[in-house]
Amino acid sequence: MKLTEKLGVVVFLVAVYVLVPALIALSGRWDFFYTLTSVALLSIASAGVWLTFYIGRINIGQGAYALVGGYVSAILMTKAGLNFWITLPLAGLFCAGLSVLIGLPILRLRGVYFAMVTLVLTEVARLSALALHITNGAKGITSIPLPGKVALFGITIIPDFSTLANPKLAFYIMAVTLMVVSFAALWRIVNSRLGHLCRSLQQNEELASSIGVNTAYLRVLAYAISSFFGGIAGAGFVIISQSIYPSSFQVTDSVNFMLNCFLGGLSFVFGPMLGTLLLYFGWDLLFSTGKYQMLIYSSLLILAMLVLPNGLLSVSFSRRKGVGK
């Protein structure tokens, strides 16, 4: 890490942990906490999609894993009475396991074929949630408890959220922490040996496999990590809204996850974060325009694509990227 990068990370951390809550407290716009919490969680799912882009696959199925993760967490909390903090990693692991099973056959597909299959996967998840008994059909699962206390050797590490004066802030801190950890992990993966191998897959799979890269293993691994992120994001969403329905994550959400990555730029680890922030916040800010909201939003999207077809971050980092590659 260069000094400027270190400085950037510190500035970012200070901004999300201190500056944003302070600004919200000053302005009194408490509703921004919910928006930003959603952004943080959605950007985790987008980070997963970004990783599948990194191995050269267009993934429009992240909504499926977000939904599955959400249901796993919700069912474990309501039926088994587990603490949210235990169900969170379990939801991620369940999704990762599931994605290995699904990924083994479908990762053989490429290009638009993979894109279309994953799109169908989102529909499969929604229809399964409607048809199964354990997911309670269209009624969904509601009145999910708030996260409980986590204590280690008698010391409270995470307090019970229902005892807090300001659970909104607590949820914000939770989501942002998850986001920071996820993106740190993603950054580490991309800059490791695994990341280099993934790049080789993105460029030419046959060539990579001919020089001894285990492509089948790698793409399943990348897909599993991606789905893990999806599951975590889904579980996080369940706990902030305290409910889940089959329509909580659908095709539109899957497409949005993909758009977040595109908009931020596919060559940059932090692209999905920026893309999610802009898309979600932009959508929220346009709420005041009423019925023209969708029109303006989609026009801006098309415009962004026309002007910057390679993502927003391609502008500011265009010089550095030329040297780095």
């Binding site: 490429r110 169908v120 229809l127 095709v251 029109l295 077809p309 390679n310």
Partner: protein, 289 residues
């Protein structure tokens, strides 16, 4: 059983028209048109407006839909897809653009036509009843026949006209077609317009039977994707086969699986994934698209 087969054929003919447009755009430009369902809904609304609001004959509505969507398709290709394809580093960028267009068309449809379910009066009354083995309203038969005629017309156009030959050449190898003197830009535009037109026509056909509403766009796109995955993306015969197969599966599934609840589509999706695991390129597609 005969009834199920006839229903499947009728559904399949409609689906095939939708899939043809999608597969044409895909084969020419390598663009996965997310907005295809929205174009279809727009076509339905235009026919509805012409027939129900202006009280013109149905065929006028159908032609208006076709022309309007062809113009929209041509404009989209000329001013959105072409510049983005030329400048973006990754061809997936067009997917974002197509998704943006889908949102845009949704918004426009909502503003112009509202969110209500719309339908037009029956074109012809009466029901064909053949000993209660096959019961089919005449207007459905008419729509089915029209759809099949459209498909036949499209195939003839692609096989025997100059433009059709140019587009087939483009689909096979863009570079080679260009070297042989095919005006690539022009035929890409015509192809996109033609694909959008087919979507509009399918919408116009459907509005006379089930009506249209705003929410149909997305699910229709997904169905169209499934059809071209079954048949093989970018292959015209594959799209037709995919349309008929999906129509038949839906018709059979809705009858056979009715007692298990609303799981027809779940079963279709699951079997599709198994099928694609065995044969990734679909029935007739080129390997790896």
């Amino acid at each position: 059983m005969e009834q199920i087969v006839v229903n499947g054929l009728y559904l399949g003919a409609q689906y095939a028209v939708i899939a043809l447009g999608l597969t044409l755009i895909f084969s020419l430009m390598n663009v996965l048109n997310f907005a295809h369902g929205q174009m279809y809904v727009l076509g339905g609304f235009i026919t509805y407006t012409v027939v129900s609001q202006f009280h013109l004959p149905y065929i006028v509505g159908l032609v208006t839909s076709a022309v309007a969507l062809a113009v929209i398709g041509a404009l989209l290709e000329r001013f959105l897809f072409r510049p983005v394809i030329a400048r973006s580093k990754r061809e997936e960028s067009t997917m974002l653009l197509a998704a943006g267009v889908a949102f845009f068309l949704d918004a426009v449809t909502l503003l112009i036509f509202g969110e209500k379910q719309r339908g037009i009066p029956k074109i012809i009354n009466g029901v064909l009843n053949w000993n209660f083995i096959i019961v089919m309203p005449y207007d459905r038969i008419l729509i089915g026949v029209l759809a099949i005629a459209l498909i036949a017309g499209f195939i003839v156009f692609m096989q025997f006209s100059r433009s059709g030959r140019a587009m087939r050449a483009l689909a096979q190898d863009r570079m080679a077609a260009q070297l042989m003197g095919v005006d690539v830009d022009r035929y890409s535009m015509i192809g996109f317009a033609l694909g959008a037109m087919l979507a509009g026509l399918a919408g116009g056909l459907l509005v006379s039977i089930t009506g249209v509403n705003l929410g149909m766009g997305g699910p229709t796109s997904i169905k169209a994707f499934m059809m071209i995955m079954i048949g093989g993306a970018g292959v015209i015969s594959g799209a037709i086969a995919g349309g008929f197969i999906l129509g038949m599966m839906e018709s059979v599934g809705l009858t056979v699986l009715a007692s298990y609840g609303d799981i027809t589509y779940l079963v279709i999706f699951a079997s599709l994934m198994v099928f694609l695991a065995i044969r990734p390129q679909g029935m007739m597609g080129k390997p790896w698209g």
